[in-house]
Point group: C2
Chain length 248, copies 2
Amino acid sequence: MNIKTLDNYKIQNEVLRALRPEAQEFIQARVLTRPIHAGDVIFEDGVPFTHAVFPHEGVLSLMAQEEHGRTVEKASIGREGFLGFAFLLGGGSAISRSIVQVPGYASWLAIRDLDEALEQYECVRQAMLLYAKSLISQLMESVACNTLHSAEQRVTRWLLHAHDRVDGDVVMVTQQAIANALGMRRATINEACSNLQQAGTISYSRGIVNFIDRPALEERVCQCYGRIRFRFKWQEVGTGHSEAATDR
Amino acid sequence: MNIKTLDNYKIQNEVLRALRPEAQEFIQARVLTRPIHAGDVIFEDGVPFTHAVFPHEGVLSLMAQEEHGRTVEKASIGREGFLGFAFLLGGGSAISRSIVQVPGYASWLAIRDLDEALEQYECVRQAMLLYAKSLISQLMESVACNTLHSAEQRVTRWLLHAHDRVDGDVVMVTQQAIANALGMRRATINEACSNLQQAGTISYSRGIVNFIDRPALEERVCQCYGRIRFRFKWQEVGTGHSEAATDR
DNA sequence: ATTCTTGTGAACGTTAGCGTGCATTAACGG
DNA sequence: CCGTTAATGCACGCTAACGTTCACAAGAAT
């Protein structure tokens, strides 16, 4: 794991960006920001939290591990969220193994500092609770999507979420990684990606996926994608308890 | 929907039971408690909250509805939780359609009163946040389970959860209802239940499921069941932010 | 230049669960 | 008591995804 820290970077994490300036500065002065590399393990399952992690670019996956070696992503986290919400809701340990699925960079904040930020700035708790709610929505959609929708739709959804979480139109990810995330065979992913490429929506080679025609991708994906996006967008705009009846 | 209220009943909802006596009395004085019947719609998707609902017995399902008529349960709620957590986390409307899957009885608390309880008693917020965390765990397990495990294992898990949420060894539920909850055909459920019955673990007839050999059921179910149970149990015992590193 | 590793493409037979439709039986309401 | 409805049992062919294995090519390492 590369431990070199970044000196100059853009705060792209949306939870951090939603904070009031003074809270943001407080946290900014205490975080450690560095690149995250594909395959890095951020937390092991059950290990006590030492930090909260705020991705600015890239994708983290909370992975479920099956006896027989199969895996699935229980949830994925990008710039719209952070890792460590279990601490916020009243626990001391990571809720599952978290790994880097798409490289990028992220900020580490020691739990001690997070605790202080929570006490000092109400907006921190509020932003984090709002993300917890969005996460619940994401999870609910995932339960439904994983149960009801086809392999190709799920691959498409995964790619779109990944695209949302990086700058530009290139996502660094192999078919094997997608297979692990979706709990499918690589062969199944291959077929889906091959279809998408032939349709001219993406192109890819050796772990580099290019997004060519996003609108076309969005037409192929199931509604789950849009619903999850909407929740997160709404979160960005939301201001707390005062929303109208459009909460879906 | 039966509107007759219950005069005498046992508070079996574990969120309510976890509260300090004064908070429990405050809420107790304001709730309306009545039976819930299979098929009742508690909230429609997107409708503004009017109440939080605390089941004492029975099962509520948050249902996802697909274009083609297929459905799945995104989450299920029994006496270990409550309906309305989205309000707590910062939203005004139901996050999805909620229906009664297994009959029982539940307490309704007006949002106005809930708000007051949250302001007056810290333990209310704490208990509810802890449930939110458990719910996230439940959802994560469901994502994994729905993706990786067999129909029979999932049926078994569903039945065990239902059993946990009623008194005694009888669960009122039809195969069709289970099929809707799991997003499968009734024929698939039929086969699974038939196997379970032949193995002597349950018996059933016309919407009445009898649990005969629970240990045998627990041997057949996937680990997802145990993990979810463990989270909820831990929640009951938990006292907030002070847990050791056994949070899994 | 040559080996080695990693990512991709494609093929095999297998199977769990699907969509459908129909028969049977228990309970319920008049 | 009987007709109607709801719950269950089962059987048909079908297909999406599975497990496995092999081949090939692009980079990386030596």
